[in-house]
Structures are given as structure tokens and as C-alpha cells.
Symmetry: C4
Subunit: 267 residues, 4 copies
Amino acid sequence: MHDIIYEADTPMGKLFDVILLILILVSIVIVMLESIPKLNEKYADTFYLLEWIITGLFTIEYIARIISIKKPTKYIFSFYGIIDLLSVLPLYLSFFIAGSSALLTVRSLRLLRIFRILKVSRYLGAGNYLKKAISDSREKIAVFLFAVLMMCIISGTLMYIIEGEESGFVSIPVGIYWSIVTLTTVGFGDIAPVTPLGQFIAAVIMIMGYGIIAVPTGIVTSEYSKNLNSKENKVILNTIACYNCNAKKHQDDAKFCHNCGEPLRDD
Amino acid sequence: MHDIIYEADTPMGKLFDVILLILILVSIVIVMLESIPKLNEKYADTFYLLEWIITGLFTIEYIARIISIKKPTKYIFSFYGIIDLLSVLPLYLSFFIAGSSALLTVRSLRLLRIFRILKVSRYLGAGNYLKKAISDSREKIAVFLFAVLMMCIISGTLMYIIEGEESGFVSIPVGIYWSIVTLTTVGFGDIAPVTPLGQFIAAVIMIMGYGIIAVPTGIVTSEYSKNLNSKENKVILNTIACYNCNAKKHQDDAKFCHNCGEPLRDD
Amino acid sequence: MHDIIYEADTPMGKLFDVILLILILVSIVIVMLESIPKLNEKYADTFYLLEWIITGLFTIEYIARIISIKKPTKYIFSFYGIIDLLSVLPLYLSFFIAGSSALLTVRSLRLLRIFRILKVSRYLGAGNYLKKAISDSREKIAVFLFAVLMMCIISGTLMYIIEGEESGFVSIPVGIYWSIVTLTTVGFGDIAPVTPLGQFIAAVIMIMGYGIIAVPTGIVTSEYSKNLNSKENKVILNTIACYNCNAKKHQDDAKFCHNCGEPLRDD
Amino acid sequence: MHDIIYEADTPMGKLFDVILLILILVSIVIVMLESIPKLNEKYADTFYLLEWIITGLFTIEYIARIISIKKPTKYIFSFYGIIDLLSVLPLYLSFFIAGSSALLTVRSLRLLRIFRILKVSRYLGAGNYLKKAISDSREKIAVFLFAVLMMCIISGTLMYIIEGEESGFVSIPVGIYWSIVTLTTVGFGDIAPVTPLGQFIAAVIMIMGYGIIAVPTGIVTSEYSKNLNSKENKVILNTIACYNCNAKKHQDDAKFCHNCGEPLRDD
């Protein structure tokens, strides 16, 4: 059972993952459709029924995952373990507590689980390269984003002083929000400068935003290029998971778990 | 006749392609102008007449393409064969069925055919490098876009909960639409957050969108650079097409089609 | 006189260029200020007087440039020669023809001349690298922009069909305009989709626009990197101009013009 | 005392920096909250009291910094010295002069000081690479931004002529502001072209903006890549500061200040 639920190398394991993926997508679509007033009026009962069926299936999956592993706590307190729990809890809670429909959105997190299926060789490779490139430039991007935020605080305050409440800059936080909207080149236009000086500063912010967008791009491109060229980045393509501690990323010919020493059954 | 219609290496073949290109552009311009109410009232008859003339010429071209090839099915069911058919069908259909003017837009696909003319050496080279760079990073960009979509689903649902219907977030799909508009830094402003918490989350989405735009750029740049530097990418610059199966990309000195074995006449 | 006007290596030549730059900037600022109704009411006479003074000085400069060169036609029909003429003509013409104030904007082109001053060593180097990178990837960017335009035509037509006139998509050209606004991530919001299907297609266009912005970046970065690394790109830092044909980019130790054979006086 | 205030290598130095960082952030948050009318009505007294406490602490810090250095003028007229002074001055001035609340925003500059704490090894390294990449491509980006500005002046004037005051293009400076908004792909939508010709030119500007955003990215990426690959870029990770002249960036094993020759005490 462990092989089917936690790994994707066997036909049964793949089938399990595909069924899970479909269930997740159906569940997400229901959440979306429920939020459309017209559809909810008409099909509220159908949605409710489907919701209970899917939650029931996810509950079974959650229990199966706990049973099929030697050390259940390893799974329960892992990232995906918490998400799995959060994806079934809301409905049960909503049964007891009225008006907790907001919790249903936690189900969106369920989408994160579909990344497990992506652990098919090719996608894993691609995903890992990306993750490594982003992780390697994490600090540099943090420094950059911090500098951007600082620029936004200064320019947001300036705009609040110059434009004032008449133009929609009702407070400094709103000014900072506007600066972020502008510097990232989003530009909603719900707030826009009207005074010549405000427009001049806005123009300066925009040109800066246009110029410095090159910085994160330069960082990620360079790090990504480096990774792409280096031979050291070995990518684990199998989905072997330890029966005991659920550790992943074992070598293809590994016989024992690199984390807890438990023998890996590949028979 | 095959050489003139399918290849662009002879003067006649080039002339044929240029005439075809002009016809396509004229046809596109007519479709555009017809959609402007003022012009359509005035020149409806002229547009209608021109439309029939162009459709007639395209019909002749379509028949000529079928006749001049040994295996017509190879052309008919190819990508361009279907586009060629779709570019003449709408008008004939509209003659029988009233109100099918929507089908006229299929003609826009006709524009895709002008890429054939681009198969002049230089442009082919440039286009192929691009295609190869995009095709090589296809999977990585798919993983990236999937991650972006997931972020949009989560943030769209959050905004729906926080902002609610008063701010225009009438349903989760609309929230997701807004998230995509924001994360891609488009920012229409038709829907914009008004609550402080909503604006804070919007700011986080925008800064993330600003930061992660670097990822696809990094991928494409790296792959493109790799292709540019490698000597393996041989680009076929001629436009030789097999008389039998219409296969392309033959070596310059090829004597037989690499697909069906038919001799290639280059005399 | 030729050295002062056409070259920037001598102190007098530099002074001439700086005075010219200031005159151009003053002239641009006047054009701008004139367009502000409030200021124009107040200072119309001052602006008019200044305008005539500057035009007079530019006329002298234009005549001096023609006199100080052996083959005046070389200058008159060069890019800068035409701009120099266009920068003085409008005012003289406006003296004879009333209501030709639109021509005054031609003066904006005068700004292009300030690039001459940029021909100080460092800036020339930087500018030339850029020019070379853009020029090398010209064809590839043309292919890319053509593909983008084709996507905009198709999606603009689709949006016109789906959204219709109620949402502001009054004609196909307007739909294409909207598509360009969206794909380039500008997003004015003057026109925005309101139907669910329209918003879905808009979301697809936006994500595509977000993804493919990587392509021109990839191209320019690769070409620019290649140029930066190669030793072949020799940059001419002097501003020597031939007395006869006004040819530039002479080697530092050149004795004769590489274009017409005229001796270059460097004494 | 010098070690604690100016360096971050000792536990006490780190503690001092962390307390300072918290004080700065609290101070910034108070400025922000004060600007929200609702909160200011309620908690004006609390904000005022906190403001005086923080200003008091910053005053003590400023005096401590002056005392603990041999040549106080080195600190007083340095970038951070002026910021430190500006961060305490506004409140004292506002005590004497009524209505000078605008000066309070100068405190935002205080945020710049938190970069000192970032001088922890890793962040310093990342920040220095970035600074070097931007500084190396400074001239090229200046040339690029200048070209962009020129395009904006020309297109802004064109739009002013074509669209006129009815569409919101009330003057050339406003037209230029709109051009910058459009070219940088911000697109507020407060001003948008309505005439077909205006929309066509807007489309051209947008596509240009979309295409040329690749240029600064290309420059920064290339320069950054070069720096990343070269071994010459040695990064100083310690925070040793001279007791005499406050010079930084000493070698790890330096015994004397490289600027004034003062012995560096590391005991």
C-alpha cells in the first residue's frame, strides 16, 4: 500500500496519483463555481453532495497515508501532511460551526499536492533546476526586494505629501501601495497623480521601475545559466520513499534509506 | 507548377509568394475595416465585392495546391492545408447560412501562411533558433506557468474572501482573473482592492510578479544562449519541397526525399 | 571652423557642443511650457521672443555647417543635416502660414542632435555596444514582433466577437489595440473584458504576454553578451570628421579619410 | 564603545544593531499610522509620546556616534551622518515651528541605515555583486534611459497634437508623462487615447516599450554574469571600522587602517 500511495513508479501508484489529481481539480472547480451566486442558487445541493463525497475520499486517503507508514508523525507534521489535514478539516468544522465557509478556501492549498505527480522524471528535472536557481539567488533577490520596498516607502511618503487626499493618496500606507503598483509596472489607475510635481515624481518612479526590473532577471539568468552548465547537479528521477521515515531523493540503486537506515524494498 | 506554389527559390516562386502575401494582407485589412460601423455603412458593397474576388483567388490557389502534389491528402490534412481550407470556407458558408459572419474571423488564421515567405534564408535561421529555444525550455516554462497559475488561484480566493463583492470581486473566478491581471503586471484597474488588507496582499502579489518575471527570462535566455553557441544547430535554408509527400527541410544536395524516397527534381 | 563645429576633441569644439546642447534643451522646454495654457497666456510674448532668438542661432549654426565643409551636399542630405533644417524651418513657415503651429513639434527632433555630444569616448563605447547588440538581433526581434502582432490580430478579433460593443470592443482594430495593450502588460483599463469567456481569454493573453516577454530579452542578452566577450569590436573614441565628405569613425592615427582620400588635418 | 556602535562582529555590536533596527521600524510604522486620519484621532497622544521617546533614543545614538570616533567630522559629513541628523531634527524643529509635519517624512531616510545590519557576511556579498553590476553598466543604462526619454518627448508631443485636450492630453508635459506611463508598461489609464490614430501610435509605443525592456536586462545580465564568473571580485565580509576616520572594507588580517594609518584594534 505504501508503494501505491507514496510512490509513482508503479502503474498502480501512477493510477492513484492521477485519480487524486482529478479529485483535487474537481474539488477546486466546485469551490470556484460555488462562489458564483447564480450557479450556487441553482446547484447548491449538488455542490454540497459532491463536496462531502470528495472530502470523504480525501479523509480515506489521509488515514491510508497515516496507516501505511511506520512513523506516522513524520508524515503528519510534514508540509504535505498538514495540507492534507487542512483539506479535509474545513468541511467537518463547518458542520459544527455555522458561517465558517471561509475555511473552505484552505482547500485551495490542496493544489500544492499535485506537484507530487510532477515528479515524473522530466518535470522533476525542470522543476529542480528552477528551484535551485531561485534558491541560489534567494539572498540577492531578498536584498533587491528590500531595496525596492525602501524606495516605495520613500516615494509613497513623498507622493502623500505632494498629492494629498484629493488625488486619492489618503495616507502614507496608501501612498506606499500606489508606489508598489507603479514601480512594479502594474499601474491599476485607481489612484493616479494629478499635480505636475506628482506626475514628475511618478515618471521618475516608473523609469526606475523599468530600469531595475533588469536586476532580478540578471540574477536569476546568471544563476540559472551557471546551474545549467555545471555537471554537478544530479537530479533524482525516481519516486522511492522510505517505509519508515518517508525520506525521498534516494539514489536509483540505494538499498537502505539515507535518512534512517531502513531497508528500501524494491521487489 | 509544384515549384512555383510550394517553393520560394525560383523567381516565379517568389513572385507567387509575394502576390499571396499581398492578397492575405488586403483580406485582413478588409475584415478589420468591415468591423468599423461607419465604414461598413458606406463601403459595404465594395468590401463584399473585394471579399468575393479574394476568396475566389484563394479557392483557385487551394485547388492548385491539391492538383500540383502527388499525394493531396498529405497537404489537405497538414496544418497549412486546413488553414487554407478554413480561409475560403466561411464566405461560401455565409452564402447559405445567414448570420455566420463570425466565421469570417477564421480568415485571420490566413496570416499564419505568411510565415512561409519568411522562409527566406535569414528569417528562417532567426525563426528556427527562436523556435528551438522556446521548444527546449517548453517543459520548464510549463512548470513555471503552472506555479504562477496556482499562486493566482490561491491569491484570487484570498482576495475574494477579503475584498468581497463591494470591490468587484464578485466570485472566485473573477478573483483569479484579477490575480492574473495583477501578477502579470498588466493591471487594468477595472477591479482594484479598496480595503487595507486587500491592498497589502495586492502589494505582495505585485512584488512577487515583479520578482518572478525573471524566471522565464532566465530560462529562455539560457537555452537561447546555449543554442547560439553550439555548432550542432544546422539550419536548412532552401525551400525544396517533395513532389510526392510535400516533406520539407531537405539537405541542399539531397537527390531523394528523406521521407518517401521520391526523387527531388532540381533541374 | 570645421574642427569646432564638427569635432569635439578640442576645447573650442567641446564648448560649441555644450552651448548647442543648452540651446536645444532651452528650446525644448519652451515648446513644452508653451503647450500649458496657463503659462502661455502669461508669457506668450517672452516665449515668442526666445523662440526667434533660438531659431536665429540655429539658422547661423546651419549656415556655418554648410560653409565649413567642402561638399555641403554630404551634410545637407545626411540624417543630421535634415534634422538641422527641420529645426529652423517651422518657425519661418509659421510666419507665412497661420495655424501651422503643429510644425513646431518638429523641433523635438532637434533633441536627436545631442547624441553628437555623447560621442565623448565613454558614451560612444557604451552606445556602440548597444547599437551593435540591437542591430545584430534586428531580424530575430522583427520575427518576434511579427509573431506578437499576429497573436494580437487573432486575439483582438476573438475579443471583438466575444465581448462586442457593450464592453468597448467597438471594432476589430480597437480589439487589436486592446490586445496590444494587454499583451505588452501595459493595461490601461479604458477597455476591459466583462464576460467570463472574455476574461478567460484575456487571462490567457496576459499569461502568454508574461511568458514571451522573455524572448526579446533572451535575444538581446545573448547577442549583447557575445559582443561584450568578443575582442573584435573595436570602438572608435575620437570625433575626427573629414573636411571634405564629413565621414567619421577614422582610426586614431589615420592620415587620410577612409571614404574620399582627403588628408585629415590633425595639426 | 566604538566597536559596539560601528561594528557588527561582536555580540554586543549585533545586539546594538538589532535594537536600532527595531527602533527604526517602529518609528516608520508610527509615521505611517499617524497618516491614517482615523487612527490619528484616536491615538494621537500615544504616537506623540512614542515619537519623542524614539527621537530621544536616536539623539543619544547620534551623540554616541560623534563621541566614540576620533575624527567626528568624518562621521558628521558622511552619508549616514547626515541621515542620522535628519532623523532627529524634524521633531525638534516641529517643536519650534508649527505646521512643519512634512519634515517628519525625512525620517523615512532612517530606513537607509538598516543596510548597515545587512553587512552580515552573506548579504554584504550579495549586495556588493549587485552594486558592482549596476555600477559597471551605469553609463550604458544612462545612455539607454536617455534614449527612452527622448522617445517619450517625441511621442508625447505627437500624442498632444493628435489627441488634444479632449482626451486628457492637456499639454506636452502631460503627453510626455503619458508616454512614460505607456512605454514603461505601467499604464494607469487615467489618460488614454481615443482617436484611431492616437491608438495606433500608442500601440507602436507599447510594442517598442515591450521590445526595448530587453536592453537594460541584457546589459545588467551580461555585466552581472561577467562579475559572477571573474575571480577578481574579492568581497570584504567583516565590519571592521577605523577608530580614527571610520573607513571600512579592511582586509580580515589588516593591522592598520588603509586610509589614515591608525592601528586597528582587534583585541
